[in-house]
């Protein structure tokens, strides 16, 4: 953590002697950085799967609290409290997730005389329940989604309520979930029909046909307001964060300030957030989440009584260290900032780097981080991570590896900086979402701020595969490939060492760069520190000090600075930059002329077995023996890493046999069923 404008601790004595961080991964490391800066000793807790993890190495002491499953370690209140007692920690910071919003844990800690760095158990309880929190919010004058509090089962009454709320409305099963029994209605006719349909669906799915009615939010955006409060009644709001870029309800990219809010809305939202914090006598850092519609109307969703994953963007624009504020407030100090002291500078954007495979429906990917080279942090680039090269990403927990936060005077500058840093982020050993993040950052809708929480679902309905470079124009990658290959050949040929030759430049070489079935002839003349490439009638200078074997090619193509990841794979190069990842072959003109005429024989038939892509538990088997299947049909659901993953058929065919039944534990590659 790099506090820029954080007030120094003013030489006061340490707030606590020792603090235990009841969490893992990046947030544990993040909290420890601040604790160390404040001169507080830290204790890490870890499960058996996290032996040697970064947070255990960063802490002054580390203590094992149980086996890998979270319920027996990070969620085990007794074990964590015992660890506090054994290590003599005076306070415990829960981070996010795990025990962060568990009032029983807060009580248990307080009961042992350990300070819980977070709000009072009362506030946690009040905000933890959806209905209660909504009622409190409405009471405090916070705008909640217009709707009827009671479930309805009479069509006439439903119509009246819908009119009262105002169209469009959402009809949803009161017992529901998962989109079943949900209907949108824009007028009376749709409401009448939708109500009946929703009711019958709800009856079939849940055996309960009561329906809830509330305002339907068009193009909803997720905007949340950060607040901090102390026990002396001071409540300060620290601006909003826009977190609309989500996939499967998990945030991917967050930013502050929101590109969508106007000043009036912002002020009103901040005012309501503070009012809610006061209403529950809030005494820590918390977040009030709102959904905002296209007309800038906003409605309360819920309040998160903890530090958020995306808190760094607020820290970067306000210059405040939220963890420090939480610790100070928990120690009984007054908030060191008043509302009038809070100023916002520039824009900050955060991208979450996950170990997951965007091409396979964002399936989490566990394993050893064979290579892990985050971009270098700097004044306007922050990297919060909880792993290191050689660490293992366990299957049991959230697969987030790192958060990259870029700051800039403008939103465009921050995006630009984030893009460049993601290009330099090099990960091997597990699948990752770097190309997906880059694709979002490149997307015109994102650039223009025209998005809603449905952005990912709308733009990437079938998941995301890195592009191989779409334009027919010779792209940067084509020129880089030609340069890389020319340098490789130069050193294999044993040439290019003489200074005279380097100054004069090599004779012109002709290459053909092939990506899939597109090909670009490129003429290359190697010069010192780069090459002059000629492609499509244009002369383009490529400047780079890259040498064979290096993973990152940094340099300039046609004057634009670029960073391209270069990986040699047999006769090909795998190049990656932005949203593009392409396997490139560079051939002599003669070989390129011949290449279209060769093809290997037919490959071995398609996979005969459906195998478990990761260790987990088989939750549901959707097909039986002898059943015909179609491409894209759901075959099985497995639960791993706290999430459910659906396996789909890759081709049409028939199931021959199934080998497992739901509930079975799966090892990687274990055969679930056989195709004919």
């Amino acid at each position: 953590m790099r506090p820029r404008r954080v007030r120094p601790s003013r030489g006061r004595e340490r707030v606590f002697d020792k603090i235990l961080v009841a969490n893992r991964g990046e947030i544990a490391c993040r909290i420890m950085r601040t604790a160390h800066r404040l001169g507080i000793e830290t204790v890490a807790v870890y499960s058996e799967a996290d032996r040697g993890a970064l947070h255990t190495r960063m802490a002054d002491e580390a203590i094992c609290i149980g086996p890998a499953p979270p319920a027996q370690s990070y969620l085990a209140i007794d074990a964590v409290v015992r660890a506090c007692r054994e290590t003599g920690a005076r306070a415990v910071h829960p981070g996010y997730g795990f025990l962060a919003e568990n009032e029983n844990f807060a009580r248990a800690a307080s009961g042992q005389g350990i300070v819980f760095v977070g709000p009072e158990p009362r506030a946690i309880a009040a905000m933890g329940d959806k209905l209660t929190s909504k009622a409190i919010a409405a009471e405090a004058g916070v705008s909640v989604i217009p709707g009827h509090p009671e479930p309805v089962s009479d069509p006439q009454r439903a119509l009246a309520i819908a009119r009262e709320i105002g169209y469009p409305v959402m009809l949803k099963a009161s017992a529901g979930g998962g989109g079943k029994g949900m209907r949108r209605a824009r007028d009376d006719a749709e409401c009448r029909e939708g109500f009946e349909r929703a009711r019958s669906e709800a009856r079939a799915a849940f055996g309960d046909d009561r329906i809830l009615i509330e305002r339907f939010i068009e193009q909803p955006r997720h905007v949340e307001m950060q607040v901090v409060a102390d026990r002396y009644g001071n409540v300060v709001s620290l601006g909003e964060r826009e977190c609309s870029i989500q996939r499967r309800h998990q945030k991917v990219i967050e930013e502050a300030p929101s590109p969508f809010l106007d000043e009036a809305t912002r002020q009103a939202m901040a005012e309501q957030a503070r009012a809610l914090a006061r209403a529950v006598d809030y005494r820590s850092a918390g977040t009030v989440e709102f959904v905002v519609d296209a007309q800038h109307r906003f409605y309360f969703l819920e309040m998160n009584t903890r530090i958020q994953v995306e808190h760094p963007v607020t820290e970067e624009v306000t210059g405040l260290d939220l963890v420090e504020l939480m610790i100070r407030v928990a120690a009984g100090e007054r908030l060191p900032v008043a509302q009038s002291d809070v100023t916002m500078h520039g824009c900050a954007i955060e991208a979450r780097v996950y170990a997951e495979d965007p091409a396979a429906g964002f399936l989490p990917s566990a394993g050893r981080l064979v290579r892990y080279r985050p971009p270098r942090a700097g004044r306007k680039l922050r990297v919060d991570d909880g792993v290191y090269e050689g660490a293992t990403v366990p299957v049991h927990y959230d697969p987030m590896l790192a958060k990259v936060i870029a700051t800039g005077a403008t939103r465009a500058a921050a995006i630009e900086r984030l893009q460049r840093s993601l290009d330099a982020f090099y990960i091997r050993g597990v699948a990752h979402n770097l190309r997906f993040l880059a694709a979002i950052l490149e997307h015109p809708r994102f650039r223009e701020g025209r998005f809603s929480t449905r952005f990912v679902a709308e733009e990437y309905p079938a998941g995301f595969r890195p592009s191989h470079g779409t334009s027919d124009e010779p792209s940067t990658l084509v020129l880089v490939a030609a340069y890389v290959h020319a340098r490789e050949c130069e050193r294999y040929d044993g040439a290019g060492v003489g200074a005279r030759r380097a100054a004069r430049g090599s004779p012109q070489q002709h290459w053909v760069v092939c990506i899939d079935d597109r090909r670009w002839p490129v003429a290359v003349r190697l010069v010192r520190g780069g090459c002059d490439a000629r492609c499509g009638g244009r002369e383009v200078p490529v400047r780079s000090a890259w040498r064979p074997g290096e993973r990152l090619l940094r340099g300039a193509v046609n004057g634009t600075s670029v960073c391209v990841q270069v990986e040699r794979r047999g006769p090909r190069y795998r190049l990656a930059r932005g949203a593009v990842e392409a396997d490139v072959t560079v051939l002599t003109p003669r070989a390129a002329e011949l290449a279209p005429h060769v093809h290997g024989g037919p490959r071995g038939g398609t996979a005969r077995y459906l195998r478990a892509p990761m260790p987990g538990q088989l939750v549901h088997l959707a097909v039986g023996p002898e059943e015909e299947i179609r491409t894209g049909q759901m075959l099985a659901v497995i639960e791993a890493m706290k999430m459910e993953h659906t396996l789909y058929a890759e081709t049409d065919g028939r199931v021959k046999a199934t080998f497992l039944s739901p509930g079975a534990l799966l090892a990687v590659d274990e055969v679930i069923l056989e195709f004919e």
Binding site: R51, G52, R368, L369, V370, R371, Y372, Y388, E389, G390, A391, T392, C489, R491, Y492, D493, G494, A495, V497, D517, R547, P548, G549, E550, R568, G570, P571, T585, L587, T588, R590, A591, L594, A595, P596, H597, V598, H599, G600, G601, P602, R603, G604
Partner: protein, 483 residues
Amino acid sequence: MSIVRDRRKHVASLEGASAGVWGQHVRGRLSARERIDVLVDTGSFRAVAPRSTRAHAGLHVPAEAVIAGRARVHRRTVYVYAQDAGTGAGALGHAPATRVQALLTRALTGPGPVIALLDSPGVPLQAGAEGLAGHAAVLGAQAGLAGRVPQVALIMGPCAGMAALVPGLADLTFMVRGTSHAFLTGPEVVRSVAQEPLSAEALGGAAVHAARSGVADGVFEDDVEGLLELRRLCTYLPAGAGEGPPRVATSDPPDRAEPSLETLVPCDPRDPFDMAELVQKVLDEEDLFELGPEHAPNLVTGLGRLAGCTVGVVANQPLVRAGCIDTRGARKGARFLRFCEQFGLPVILFCDAPGFLPGSSEEYGGLIRDAGGMLGVLAAMRVPRVYVVPRRAYGGAALAMGIDVGSACRTLAWPGAEVALMGAQAAAELIGDRVPEAGSDGRERVDGVVRPRHTRREIHRALATLRRHRPRRRGSPPGARRR
């Protein structure tokens, strides 16, 4: 799609052109001349002048059935011949065999690797006697080159009967997936005599030889990929015995530290780890040209570089069969190690051998002789050998890997590694006693304990030391240059 269209157009345009080229292209293959064009540096091919162009009366295969000549690959001299399936079926009749023989003889003079691009449906029946003589000449010349220049065969089409002995004598053999077959007895005979109804692909396809028989050291997806990979392979190959390993400029510092290796060996001794990661992180630019990746994957063999010089790599792979030594692995290892010894390539052995693969199939398969064979090769090796023991090297399996056997070798162990008769736990179970101190009896057999992160640096130093104190050869093969 456009490739398919281009192909149709191309095939159409070839009508009336050379039947050979057309015939190859419709099968997705290149002609002999085209293959050589892709393989060698542009404009570097010089055909060997056949001794006599005069056609002998009564001969059925013209000399043009084979194209042979000297060329350069990345400016290194190679001797290459390619069978032209379109001319005389590419068969090694008398005239083409004479060409090849001349080429092979020449390969010794300005030494360089020999590359054979094999593609011939076989000798026409009426030329049977001629073919027998031709093959005898070529195979004889090939055997004479063994151990003197590296010989590489790339099978790019059918390679049957006596012709299949050509890759049999080569040091390294590769195949093209789907278009190449190799067998000594064809599917028709197998069907009628052995009652085995097998297709050519099932009998001798690339998949069979890569995984089961181990005849193929690698499989490529098509002609162009195969030829490009051979170009890359050539940068690793010495020109001949006694020529020393080739050197390639690299910017990878020999003392590069790899902190991530500190966590490679799992806490639980029963958990496997990926030895390939260690191998790659030690080698220059993380580049290993693996040989025989699908056959006996429990023993990884391949070529890499250290400080720019080619080295051979042999590694137990704990991910497969726990890294145990079995008959296939021992045979594969012995063959590769012999290659390294013959051509003066230093060898790095990454040893994590828990033992030999137990079971009747292994014992009946002659594991004793195969393991002994590998040990024999290792014991007689004179090239520098460096062992890295990340975790354990137990008993007979460690001996079979050659630890502590022969000369010119150094053993580097990671902290906590055991070089012992057997695991401490297993020993305790056997003698019914408490666990003896781990690795206690192995220390004197280890030359140094290195931190994992400095493995690369320490291997480099050990190799440098061994090279300085290299034992004199008892006699180098005739014809090989002495340094």
